[in-house]
Symmetry: none
Subunit: 125 residues, 2 copies
DNA sequence: ACGCAATGCGTGGCAGACTAAGCATTGTTG
DNA sequence: CAACAATGCTTAGTCTGCCACGCATTGCGT
């Protein structure tokens, strides 16, 4: 389906930003490295730009990339979603442990969950 | 442009995350709504997934979307400086482990953090 | 031995992101 | 008026993200 309503919403957002910056589609095209014809299609809601184009546009507008992503509906994640992420997710997302340490911790954790019987654990290659 | 080095880097990151989660490509495919054949190609660095796929994968892994974007090289700015979820808190609030098991996990975790030499055993690399 | 399910990977093809070139309109200048 | 430039838009085409399907291998159960 060509006409996506999310694409239309982002198109409006892009057009408003461009008009606020007081530049034409071609000027924005040169500033961002995207073709002007594509910008026209995006503003009219025909297409949803990829993440790379969003990044380029954000740089051209000098606004944070995360704002672009949020406006394009790509980052609709709740900022403060769940309170208890779970041990597995917490370990995996940790920034202080390296991959081996994470694997070891997960292995121990899973062994606890599986009961006293030692299960054939995964080959951590 | 078949061999894109950024695609390869993200492929490695994706594969490591999948192995940490201990799931197969097809399981990840069902959890994220992406086809398993495509996941295989992404892990091997053949393609660079779009932002929508990144979002779906982040949800499947229960890690923030911004982490996915950063790892895929799409967000080279604004680290957003989020506080780590906290493995300790996750372990303490877990409902499936008993006190002994929690203590053991915490002890292993703290050993990893405090040890100047993080790995006295299990060479693995 | 025989299935049979699960895993990773290859192939063909469709849909969509993206571009180059051109059209139509509106100035703005001589 | 002619001539030029700038704007937004359309069209035709290329490239690639992505999937449905199938193949080869491994492992488990009978």
């Amino acid at each position: 389906m060509g006409t996506d309503e999310a694409a239309q919403a982002f198109g409006d957002f892009l057009q408003s930003q461009r008009r606020l910056a007081n530049i034409s589609q071609r000027q924005l095209a040169r500033a961002s490295g995207v073709s002007d014809s594509y910008l026209s299609q995006v503003e009219r809601g025909l297409y949803r730009p990829s993440a790379e184009v969003l990044k380029a546009l954000a740089h051209a507008f000098e606004i944070p990339v995360s704002t672009m992503f949020t406006q394009s509906g790509l980052m609709d994640e709740a900022p403060e979603a769940e309170a208890s992420p779970g041990i597995e997710a917490a370990i995996r997302h940790d920034t202080q442990l390296n991959a081996e340490q994470k694997a070891a911790l997960l292995s121990v954790y899973r062994a606890f969950l599986n009961g006293p019987r030692g299960e054939p654990h995964t080959p951590l290659d």
